[in-house]
Symmetry: C2
Subunit: 151 residues, 2 copies
């Protein structure tokens, strides 16, 4: 059930029109660059990338577009380190996933795990709560860094 990125952009535009919104050149470019971008850019990184093709673009437009996409559930804001000043924007498929960050090279790996549900269920039972979502970060040393470490 994989939906390609262009399909997702089309869907987003349709929802936009349905709500009386307008597809501007700025939004269109931001959407395209974002869809082609790998990783978890900050607003500023995205801004720089789009500005290559659209020099007049303003950072506040990027922020407004990102907040709109956030509402639409198309991106989610994250901070990979507790003390990170800037938010990073995750464009991944909407499927639940988690992150590992290497504390050495700062690389982020996305992953899923069959062992998450027991954690949720255990908590829910113990506290009679309803668990709706989870945010999980692992920190450590990635395989690349532990190999290079030998040098």
């Amino acid at each position: 059930m994989i939906r390609n990125k262009e399909g997702s952009v089309q869907e987003t535009i349709q929802r936009l029109h349905a709500q009386g919104g307008r597809m501007t050149v700025q939004r269109r470019k931001i959407l395209d660059v974002l869809a082609a971008m790998q990783g978890h850019p900050t607003a500023e990184e995205l801004y720089e990338a789009v500005r290559q093709q659209m020099p007049g673009l303003h950072l506040s437009t990027v922020y407004r577009t990102l907040r709109w996409l956030e509402q639409e559930g198309k991106v989610s804001a994250r901070r990979f380190e507790e003390d990170a000043r800037q938010e990073r924007f995750d464009v991944s498929h909407p499927k639940e996933h988690h992150h590992f960050q290497c504390t050495q090279c700062k690389k982020v790996i996305e992953f899923d795990s069959p062992f998450i549900d027991p954690v949720k269920n255990h908590f829910a039972n113990q506290f009679s709560a309803q668990v709706a979502s989870i945010s999980l970060m692992l920190y450590g040393i990635c395989s690349d860094c532990s190999q290079n470490h030998i040098i």
Copy 2:
């Protein structure tokens, strides 16, 4: 092996002296108020609390004290919501623990779980990584809120 809060404060003071640091009235009061405080205060909340007994205190002193305690491993900075502007400072026992936040009343519950290790191990094996720590947030509706909801 529970160490009471006063004991922990004493230990902190000793480490401070060992490093050529000085125990000022400000640090002493901040430490005491923090040890007696429940929950996860922001720097500003702590500042307001200490200022009741020490009106001349400056917010920057609170920040500096908190960063010092953070280095000492006595508090850790957290953000319970991704878009939270302010950091919150967790004064809990150093033992690993996780957080649940009720999306309705914003209450935070600390918990531990025997089901965390499998998540870490599974990731570590799959990616040949070394997992050193974890930060886990659950979001949902707490039992109080789901009861009140019936009204």
